[in-house]
């Protein structure tokens, strides 16, 4: 209890109290929320090359003009001009309509249109292509209906004929298919992980240098855990404050139980702190205690399955993902938030707790061993200088 009180006090001492680091997830939540405030990729700069100049081509272009996904920024006079705009990234999408587009459609032979997308950024490429497909399908169905009407088929009947199978779409959990519910909770979790790294990683080492604790193993482990407990409490507080802000200001909602969310977060923090204690006990200097976990902690977000799915990870990537605490938290947390359910919650909590407990026991063993050698070295008599 006295260790706990001492650590809690030390968190608030100094010119820059360590407790202030727990504001990082909140600040980053505000920053990232502002970046993703549009929720979907819109206003893709688009260039049009309309060589047909027919009413049909103009109707087709109007569909793109009306869509908020595309911003028509220029009408090119030649294909060279269009290509140049794509090449220098002035435009990310281009629509090229050939000379005989309108004429071909009217005479019953199919018209052609070329749609070009710069997909160096996949988010732009995906968004442009999926919107283009939707617009093109609508345009084709409308033109086709008119063509059948011109051969004497009733309008309602013609519509049924050209488009016999409709596709209804229901999006579960993230109905707007938005980026904020997809990424923001995971980014807050990652910010929390970085905060834990910068506060906990040098902790064991500092205590070791000061030869703060000794005694038998359970007593030592208890004292060391009391040292990190205030960090877990502050971490919980920081995360829930950031999440509340995200719910208030951005497109985040909590469908599931807050209790389950807190349980998962607690298991996650136990795992992260345990692993960081292990790194801390192994490191020779405080700076290295921050640097050594870099290759392990920093890629956590991308290996967690939050964006790139776990199912698509193979070999080393699948293994690496399996040893990251984030992999058992980020996706499950998003499920609780957006769907209200998380089928793997129990499994994930057990894995996280095991990770945390085993790492912490190992860290304590190493701590005790290092302490033992430090005492032994101090007790050794200094060698007499040769005369």
């Amino acid at each position: 209890m006295s260790t706990l009180q001492k650590e809690w006090k030390s968190l608030w001492q100094g010119r820059f109290p360590q407790a202030l680091f727990y504001l990082v997830p909140i600040v980053l939540c505000l920053m990232f929320g502002a970046v993703y405030s549009c929720n979907t990729v819109r206003h893709i700069p688009t260039v049009i090359l309309d060589q047909s100049q027919s009413s049909l081509s103009r109707n087709y272009i109007r569909l793109y003009d009306d869509s908020e996904r595309f911003d028509i920024i220029a009408y090119a006079d030649s294909s060279e001009e269009m290509e140049a705009m794509l090449k220098n990234s002035t435009a990310y999408a281009a629509i090229s309509i050939p000379k005989d587009f309108g004429k071909n459609i009217k005479t019953g032979s199919a018209g052609e249109a070329a749609l070009i997308v710069n997909s160096a950024n996949n988010l732009i490429g995906n968004s442009a292509l999926s919107s283009m497909r939707e617009i093109n399908k609508s345009f084709s169905a409308a033109v086709s209906t008119q063509l059948l009407e011109s051969v004497g088929i009733l309008p309602a009947h013609a519509r049924e004929m050209v488009y016999p199978v409709h596709i209804g779409t229901r999006l579960l959990n993230n109905p707007a298919n938005g980026y904020t519910p997809f990424m923001l909770p995971g980014l807050i979790l990652n910010a929390l992980q970085v905060t834990m790294l910068i506060t906990i990683a040098p902790l064991f080492l500092k205590s070791l240098e000061q030869r703060e604790y000794s005694g038998n193993f359970p007593c030592l482990a208890g004292k060391l855990y009391a040292k990190i407990l205030p960090h877990i409490l502050l971490g919980m507080l920081s995360f829930f404050t950031a999440l509340s802000i995200a719910c208030l200001l951005f497109d985040i909602y909590i469908k599931g139980s807050l209790f389950l969310l807190a349980l998962l977060l607690l298991a996650y923090l136990i795992a992260v702190t345990g692993i960081l204690c292990l790194f801390s006990s192994l490191s020779p200097t405080p700076v290295l205690a921050l640097q050594i976990p870099l290759l392990y902690i920093m890629p956590g977000l991308l290996f967690s399955g939050l964006s790139w799915p776990t199912l698509s990870m193979t070999g080393f990537a699948a293994f690496y993902s399996a040893i990251m605490p984030m992999s058992y938290t980020a996706d499950t947390m998003r499920d609780i938030l957006t769907g209200g359910y998380a089928p793997s919650l129990l499994h994930d909590c057990i894995v996280l707790l095991l990770m945390g407990i085993i790492s912490f026991i190992l860290a304590c063993c190493i701590y005790k061993l290092r302490l033992h050698y430090m005492h032994k070295k101090a007790a050794e008599p200094e060698e007499m200088p040769c005369i």
């Binding site: 502002a34 921050l290 290759l295």
Partner: protein, 384 residues
């Protein structure tokens, strides 16, 4: 003479702390390998789906067959009821469900339209985009074929004559620069450069901090040449680190480096000078190297997100756009670098180079003043 002497001292210092050299030379390549392994399949394939076919007709089986033929997903199970289908989705055994209603073929044979319902778990939008786009493509094609076939029978016209009236426009899609829309091409360059930025910052700030705490380090030279030689040493070393990354990217991951080498290296060089000069004054600002590293760790993720590398800057508010341009040098590096690698040119290359040059000059100036101030505070005051 001084130059060689100082470079030798820098080398000695580096060998004394080999972790610095390791970070500077190996970080970008290590992250390239790490993320290359992660995004190795390139695109998302074989997403598990469930099908509920209440129609059990030849037509519904034909629709299912065309879905089964797609490599974007695989049919994990066939549900017997709607509850079972929804349970499969909820249990996350599948990420998409296809529901074919009982009157599917009957409605079509009566020349009415019928609907197929696609239910997608959209919590991970990467799954949602892959599955829904592929499914729409497959079912639209199926619908078009059916429309041609049925209308040809109704109007007694040959299918070949009718086809251009049912599908009056042929759309030719051309995807430039990353034709398979591979995620490894899209992500790896930026992630490796972000790691490189962090490691340059950590190593150079360590060196500055070391100098500011050891008087013997600076005593031999005035502050400006001392700083410049240090800067030059780390610039050369970082360029070597970038070369290792470039080799890995091109040889191991077959990343197309389409632009002329001088353009890639010029951008890399200016990127390095910007980060080193930024590190010089930040290092002088912090009391200890631990604080320096902490600041770097907090900065790294926002710098990547704000750079517009993934989320395009066209889709952010003007205020965020300005913040990105002013506070995060990666904004001027990542997109042009990816463009140089993948498309061979970048529209913002010269602008980015100019901005990076200005940033380098400004940061160097700040670095000089901050270093001199800290040096005077640390040594001259205590001396007097």
């Amino acid at each position: 003479m001084y130059l060689i002497y100082m470079l030798q001292r820098e080398l000695k210092e580096l060998l004394h702390d080999p972790s610095r050299a390791l970070l500077l030379l190996g970080a970008a390549s290590a992250y390239m390998l790490l993320f290359g392994a992660l995004y190795e399949p390139g695109v998302i394939k074989s997403v598990p789906i469930v099908i509920l076919d209440e129609d059990h007709s030849a037509l519904s089986r034909e629709a299912i067959q065309s879905l089964e033929d797609s490599e974007s997903f695989y049919v994990n199970s066939y549900a017997a009821s709607e509850e079972e289908m929804l349970t499969e989705l909820q249990e996350k055994n599948v990420y998409m469900a296809i529901h074919i209603p009982a009157d599917f073929s009957a409605k079509i044979s009566h020349n009415e339209h019928s609907s197929i319902l696609m239910i997608v778990n959209s919590s991970n939008i990467m799954y949602a985009n892959t599955t829904s786009s592929a499914c729409q493509d497959v079912l639209n094609e199926f619908s078009d074929k059916l429309a041609i076939n049925k209308t040809a029978l109704t109007l007694n016209i040959s299918e070949s004559r009718l086809s251009p009236r049912i599908t009056p426009v042929h759309y030719e899609y051309r995807v430039l620069n990353n034709s398979t829309q591979s995620y490894s091409l899209f992500f790896c360059i930026g992630l490796a450069m972000t790691a490189f930025q962090l490691c340059m910052y950590m190593t150079f700030s360590a060196s500055i901090q070391y100098a500011l705490k050891n008087k013997a380090e600076i005593i031999t030279l005035p502050v400006i040449p001392f700083l410049l030689i240090k800067f030059l040493f780390y610039l050369l070393l970082s360029l070597f680190g970038f070369t290792i990354f470039y080799f890995f990217a091109a040889k191991t991951f077959f990343m197309p480096a389409k632009a002329p080498v001088w353009q890639i290296y010029l951008l890399a060089c200016l990127f390095i000078t910007t980060i080193l000069s930024l590190s010089s004054w930040l290092a002088a600002l912090f009391a200890s190297h631990t604080s320096c590293v902490r600041a770097g760790l907090i900065y790294v993720v926002p710098s990547f997100i704000f750079s517009g590398y993934t989320w395009p800057l066209e889709s952010v508010s003007p205020a965020i756009h300005i913040i990105s341009m002013l506070l995060f040098p990666l904004t001027w590096v990542l997109n042009p670098m990816r463009d140089l690698f993948l498309s061979g040119s970048s529209g913002s290359f010269y602008l980015s180079c100019t901005v990076l040059l200005i940033l380098t000059a400004t940061n160097l100036l700040l670095g000089f003043f901050a270093f001199r101030h800290k040096y005077q505070k640390n040594f001259l005051c205590s001396f007097h």
